[in-house]
Structures are given as C-alpha cells and as structure tokens.
C-alpha cells in the first residue's frame, strides 16, 4: 500500500507543480457549466425547471475530451523520459505503479466533481431538486469518469507519445460510449452492443435507481483497463 501511495503522491505533485491540473479542472467546469446554463435549445435559464441532468449529459461529452488529457502522460511520459526503467526495477509491482497513478487521476476527478456542485446547490435555493436523483446521478458520473480515466491510462501504457495516448484514449472511450448506436433493431447483436455501451448504462443512473448491473459494468471496465495497463508494462518481461 505504501508503494501505491508513494506513486500517488509523486503524480499529485506533478499535476499541481505544472498547470495541467488547473487547466483541466477549470476547462471542464467552465465549458460544462456554460453548456448547462446557457446553451442549446433548452438552456437552464430558459426552461425554468429544477433539473440538473444537463450537467451530466454535457459533462459526459466534455469529459470524453478532458479525461484522456489527464491520463495521457501517466505512462507515456515515463516511457519517453526512460524513467519507467528505473521505476520498474525498484521493489514495486507493476500493478502498484498502475494503481498509484490511477488513484491520482481519481482525486483530480473528485475535485472536478466538487466543482460541479455549484449547479445543484444554487438550484436548490430556487427550486425543488429530487435529492435521490441528484445523488444517483453523481454516483453515475463518478463511475463514468473513473472508467474514462482507466481507459485513458490503458491507452497511455502503449505508447511513448502523449499525443498518441490522448487520441487513442478518446477513440477507445468514444467507441464504448457510442456502441449502442452501432447496431439497430432488437436482435442479439443489437442487445449485446447496447449492453456493452457506456451510454446505455450511464443513462440508468438518472432515473434515481442504482442497479447493481450498471455498477458491475463500470467496475468491470475499470478492472479490465487497469489489467491491460499493467500487462502492457509487463510486456518487457517476455523472454
């Protein structure tokens, strides 16, 4: 555990010693809040309904571009600077490295989540929010972000180039996000694609119900992504 925390602390230092954390957090909050309050056919101020779902709808799209920007450097930078070699020859397992790095991105995301509370808090003064739906939506949004970040981390573990990691991350997330639109109808394939898609499971959280299948779906995606990342690190060990 102390190894994981050592990696975590180092990553947090890196995020906050540079403008990365600030840029990522502020751009997400500015864009998402702007979209929610003042954009499109149904801006919050125009429709006059105490509903914050827009935050999570727009947020899911904005985060698709922001999350890979947080995770793109995690492994590819280590590869590019050759620091990975030193890291993996210290007494620490590949999975501990991955978990420490992943934890740091979750904390950045938690700060982002905290920032989005502006909407529900301010709206609760002027209207009646269904707190159950708000809470379940936040849980859904947390798992969505956690999944994006794990996928971005996996993308980062395959390349020494951060730009490649960023674009690969977006593509992987987008494929999973949009998968339910890839097959029409009610056949087996369509059902399979729907059940594999992020959007399908994400939407369920807005009904105010926590379904263990949705949670299991996101946790599995995170688990597989982290396993893929750790396996990519271990590829040096082939004989």
């Amino acid at each position: 555990m102390s190894e994981i925390l050592a990696i975590y602390r180092k990553e947090m230092k890196t995020y906050f010693n540079s403008p990365i954390a600030f840029i990522v957090i502020s751009s997400f909050l500015v864009i998402t809040n702007w979209l929610f309050f003042d954009y499109g056919d149904y801006p919050f101020f125009a429709i006059n309904i105490a509903d914050i779902r827009g935050i999570f709808d727009y947020g899911a799209i904005v985060l698709l571009f922001i999350a890979p920007a947080v995770s793109m450097r995690l492994i590819s930078e280590e590869k590019h600077q050759d620091t990975l070699e030193l890291l993996v020859t210290m007494p620490i397992t590949d999975m501990q490295i991955i978990l420490g790095k992943y934890l740091s991105t979750l904390v950045i995301f938690a700060i982002i989540l905290g920032g989005t509370l502006i909407a529900p808090i301010s709206i609760s003064f002027v209207g009646n929010l269904d707190s159950g739906i708000v809470i379940s939506s936040y849980i859904g949004f947390f798992f969505l972000g956690a999944t994006y970040l794990a996928m971005g981390l996996a993308a980062s573990s395959f390349t020494r180039n951060q730009i490649v990691a960023y674009i690969m991350g977006i593509v992987i997330i987008a494929v999973f996000f949009l998968m339910n639109g890839m097959a029409n109808g009610s056949g087996l394939i369509a059902t399979l694609f729907e059940n594999l898609s992020i959007r399908f499971h994400y939407q369920n959280f807005f009904r105010g119900v926590l379904d263990s299948r949705d949670l299991l779906y996101f946790i599995s995606l995170i688990f597989v992504s982290l396993l893929v990342s750790s396996t990519a690190l271990a590829s040096r060990k082939s004989k």
Binding site: E3, I7, K10, Q81, E85, V88, T89, P91, R236
Partner: protein
C-alpha cells in the same frame, strides 16, 4: 555475490547476449568494457530485473532474478544509461519519492538524505528543479537515488558518458569510494576508465565475453609485445612479406603500398625480442631504405581493440 550462468538474451532473431557466464565477488568493482552495442546494457537490464534472460540463470546474493525479483531489487541500486530523471520535479522531492518507494522512513530517511547529499555533493542544488541542473549534477542526482537505500550492490550503466573531464574524474572517485563498501558493476566503452576504477575487467563484444581478468592480468597477456611501424623505400612487396614471414617472432598486422611505391608496414613483435638490428641488416642486404622504424609498446587499449574488432 552476482552469479551469471549461461545467459542468453534474444530480441526476436537477434541475440544481444550469447551464453555469457561470470561471477562478481562481494566488494568487487567490476568494469564492463565493450564497444557500443556489445550487450553491456542488456546484461545490466537482466541483472536489475528489468527483463528476464531468454536462457540461463542470474542470481544476486543467492536470489534468482525471476522468482525472487523483489528481493533482488531491494539489494540493488541502479543507475540506467543516460540517467533518466523526472525533469519537472525538485531534487529533494525526487529523492524523497525514491526513498518513499524504497521504504526508507522516519529517522532513517533523514540520515539517508543527509548521507547521499553529502556523498554526491548535491547540497548546492537541493532546492532546484531537475531540469535546471547541469549534466554533471544530473548524474549526481542519479547516483544519489541509486544509493539512498544503502544497497549492497550498485549497477551503473555508462555513468561517465557525456561528462566533461573534471566531472569524469569526480564520478570515478565516487565509484571508487562507493566500491570500498559495496559490490559495483559499471559499464563503459572507455578503456582508461576501467583501468582507473575497477578491480576486474570483463571485455564483452558482440554479446560474448572476449576476455576477463584484472587490468594487470590483461596487460600481462600481452606484456613485452611491441608494435613496430616501418616505412621502406625501394622494397618489393612480395619479397618483404616473405622476409617478414620467415622471422618467427614477427607478425604482419597491416601492409600498405603508398602511391610512390613506399611500403608502410605495421608489425607486431613478440615479447623479449628486439629485431630492429636484424631487420636493418635484412633491409641492407635487399637494398631497401628504411625511412621510418618506430617501436611502441602495447597498451590495454590494444587488447580492447584486438578483442573487439
């Protein structure tokens, strides 16, 4: 302390290390000498558990690098080639991070930090960021991280490459100093370096061990041998070769015919013989004119060149 047995490492069809065996005793400083691409770095990456050998075994203090990797890693301090560092971190933050991962804690941490800062002379730059440091200081930071957990074994991959002459001497002194209490393996492609620092030399070329022994032993294997460079005028090439071959103690190393017909010959003369007079007489009897005859003794550099060409 380190036992390498029949180790082979292939990258696809290419064999970077071929059936190499050697041992390093406790407290020994072993210089790994070889031209670029000889397999030095690959060997070090296997000893430090970065990657496993394709065949053969490596054990460090009795622990196998594959099955007891974590135990091996704890015993080793490693400075990889070109000193990779986190550019954006401060020097102290960086050393604290390494100490964190290596579980050097509490009062031990404070002592370890003081020790490595004084040993590597980092006190002047301890508050700077790594990207602000000169090459020499970067190298010291690399050393500092390698010794922060006071390891029994140090593995240093080309620790002096890219440094200026003063820095090179400082780093060599540091290696010798650390070598008094630790087992050290370091690699280099510079001959004088192993002569200056190591107890024993292992010359590696094209993935194989070409020679090993102390610098003295290697020199002794060629002791007394001499180079003799000659330039002759009015000499017939085939006759000259015939004459040289007729003398047992002389070996032709190189022969060039210059544009004006002069012969330029590089000869190797066996130990304990001085054939200059005999050669002079032969030249006179053949009516050759000796324009140049300059003997020089063999150096360790020659051993290296001879073995790795």
């Amino acid at each position: 302390m380190i036992d390498v047995q029949n180790v082979t490492k292939s990258y696809g069809a290419f064999e970077a290390v071929k059936d190499v065996s050697f041992t390093v005793e406790q407290g020994e400083i072993l210089g790994f000498l070889g031209p670029n691409g000889a397999g030095k770095t690959t060997m070090m990456k296997m000893i430090t558990c970065y990657m496993p050998p394709t065949a053969g075994t490596i054990s460090v203090d009795g622990l196998d690098v594959i099955t007891e990797s974590m135990g091996v890693r704890k015993k080793i301090g490693y400075l990889p080639e070109s000193t990779p560092l986190y550019e954006e971190m401060g020097v102290r933050d960086y050393l604290n991070f390494i100490a964190d991962v290596r579980k050097v804690k509490g009062a031990d941490r404070t002592r370890a930090m003081d020790r490595v800062i004084s040993v590597t002379g980092l006190s002047k730059v301890i508050h700077k960021d790594i990207h602000e440091l000169s090459k020499g200081y970067r190298q010291r930071v690399g050393f500092a991280q390698a010794i922060i957990h006071d390891p029994e074994i140090l593995v240093l991959d080309e620790p002096t490459t890219g440094l200026d002459p003063n820095q090179i001497i400082e780093i060599r002194n540091l290696i010798r100093e650390l070598g008094e209490s630790k087992t050290v393996i370091f690699s280099t492609h510079i001959m004088q370096e192993v002569q200056a620092t190591s107890d024993r030399v292992l010359i590696i070329d094209q993935g194989k061990i070409a020679a090993q022994g102390t610098a003295e032993e290697l020199k002794a294997s060629i002791a007394g041998q001499m180079h003799l460079d000659m330039v002759l005028r009015h000499a017939d090439k085939s006759k000259f070769i015939e004459v040289v071959n007729s003398i047992e103690q002389i070996h032709m190393e190189d022969l060039k015919l210059q544009k004006n017909g002069d012969i330029e010959a590089a000869l190797k003369v066996d130990a304990g013989t001085d054939l200059r007079e005999q050669l002079f007489d032969l030249a006179v009897s053949n009516k050759w004119k000796i324009l140049e005859s300059s003997p020089s003794s063999f150096t360790l550099e020659d051993v290296f060149r001879k073995l790795t060409n």
